[in-house]
């Protein structure tokens, strides 16, 4: 696969060449809130740390119409997914998360919505040269320039971006840029490697995962869960903003006599997530819910798909209103084991 260089001043032109495809990039919003469709003529800026809402929503929208119908009628109408999409500036952790989530959505049966969107998307990554305070990707199998889930990786080399195609889709994208690019020499690659090493060193937070997937079920009744969940508000911040959380709820929404079936993100931190019709709730308190969140990521998912469902992006730590810190929890898990 090829590696090319793009002069930074040519970035707008590069974006223009992608016209015809639907582009998603970190929103121009002051605090780079989330990925959003790029409006025509706009050049997405890449000077962000990471979005608050992960780009998972490009493949797995927070709300998605499955089909529409009339009350009392038999017919239904399904939305058509056909736009080719390019995600620009996806951080390696978030791209890795896509591969992790995909395992579930392609598991026993294919989830038609996710799979279709995945087929239509080209993911352009952006390596991290300045990881955030709570990043710990290196502890869970990722890294500042991890390529998993990416079709193309961009590395900021100062004056240039280094563009490495990783898949056919990535190659096609590079080809479409034509003469905007020049071939990358070995210096550029070396420089990249140096940057990545530096970035890795900047990552201060760390979790130890050895023995955790096997050990967690044994901590079922451990007091640590009560301790770490006592202050939990039971909100959905940690899960909604997690790039690997993928739970959804299905609802019929009716207005007048028209209705649609749609699915929307759900969170295992909500009480009603496991609430039975009978009124019984097998996860009755925040203790069980917190235990589930951690166990699912670090044990159940590993058991099923052989990968930890946490990419170390640090969002849940950054944004938890009451400082529930997954790194701290894992430390406690380690101590308890």
């Amino acid at each position: 696969m090829s590696a090319m260089l793009l002069k930074k001043e040519k970035w707008p032109e590069f974006v223009e060449k992608l016209a015809g495809k639907k582009l998603w990039a970190p929103g121009a919003d002051g605090d780079a809130m989330r990925f959003a469709p790029v409006t025509e003529g706009e050049t997405p800026a890449l000077d962000f740390n990471n979005t608050r809402v992960p780009p998972k929503e490009a493949l797995f929208p927070q709300t998605e119409t499955m089909y529409r119908f009339q009350l009392g009628a038999e017919e239904m109408e399904e939305p058509q997914l056909e736009d080719e999409t390019v995600l620009l500036g996806v951080r390696p952790c978030d791209a890795r998360a896509m591969t992790i989530v995909e395992k579930l959505f392609r598991w026993d049966i294919d989830d038609p919505y996710y799979v279709k969107r995945r087929e239509l998307v080209t993911v352009v990554g952006l390596a991290c040269s300045d990881p955030g305070l709570n990043c710990f990707c290196t502890s869970v199998g990722g890294g500042p320039a991890s390529t998993e889930g990416l079709d193309l990786l961009m590395v900021d080399l100062g004056d240039n971006y280094l563009l490495e195609a990783l898949t056919e889709k990535g190659e096609t994208l590079l080809e479409s840029a034509g003469d905007l690019l020049e071939k990358a020499d070995s210096d550029a690659v070396k420089e990249k490697e140096k940057l990545v090493l530096e970035a890795e060193k900047k990552i201060k937070r760390e979790v130890k995962t050895e023995g955790v997937p096997e050990g967690l079920p044994g901590l079922w009744e451990d007091p640590l869960w009560q301790n770490v969940s006592a202050s939990c508000l039971g909100c959905g911040t940690c899960t909604y903003l997690c790039p690997t959380c993928h739970c959804f709820d299905i609802q019929d929404e009716t207005e007048g006599f028209e209705s649609r079936r749609c699915r929307m993100w759900d969170s295992c931190m909500f009480g009603e997530y496991t609430l039975h019709t009978s009124g019984h709730n097998p996860r009755p308190t925040r203790r069980e819910r917190t235990r589930n969140r951690i166990s699912h990521k670090y044990s159940y998912y590993v058991d099923k798909f052989d990968v930890i469902a946490c990419v170390g992006c640090g969002r849940c730590i950054n944004l938890c209103p009451v400082n529930i810190d997954i790194v701290e929890i894992l430390k406690k898990v380690e101590e308890a084991l």
């Binding site: 709300t63 119409t65 529409r68 207005e255 028209e258």
Partner: protein
């Protein structure tokens, strides 16, 4: 806003005064615009202020709540509660940018058929001026 825009108004009327007043308007063959549909409730105090939000969300361009005059409530005090609650809601709606012409409240007694006609005319005219509601209308989002 086109000149022919016909607003859709949802109105909540208490059974004893305003609904009876609207009936009287009919018996008296008053004429008023057909843009307003009435939902009957027993008392204006029954009107959950969130109905107003719900109506706007679901296709109304204007909302009216009408009850008995203060002191005349069939249930003694319901309209006083309605006034307080809906007054607060009106402040909130205006603050978030809902045109104040889209929400009205009135006191219409069982004997005020003509006043009812005037209230309808005012409500419809105001909503017409405010134009089609394009705020947080549900359908225009992703239905």
């Amino acid at each position: 806003m086109s000149a022919t825009f016909e607003p859709n108004i949802v109105a909540f009327l208490c059974n004893w005064c305003s609904y009876a007043g609207a009936d009287l308007a009919g018996t008296s063959r008053e004429r008023y615009p057909a843009n307003l549909q009435i939902i009957r409730v027993m008392c204006s105090g029954r009107v959950n202020p969130l109905y107003v939000m719900n109506a706007l969300q679901q296709g109304a361009d204007g909302v009216l709540v009408s009850g008995c005059h203060p002191g005349d409530c069939h249930y003694m005090e319901g309209n006083y509660y309605a006034r307080r609650r809906l007054g607060m809601l009106k402040d909130l709606m205006e603050f978030i940018g809902v045109d104040p012409r889209r929400f009205h409240m009135s006191w219409v007694s069982a004997s005020e058929g003509h006043k009812w006609k005037e209230v309808v005319e005012k409500t419809v005219e105001d909503a017409r001026e405010a134009g089609p509601f394009e705020g947080f209308r549900r359908r225009q989002i992703d239905w």
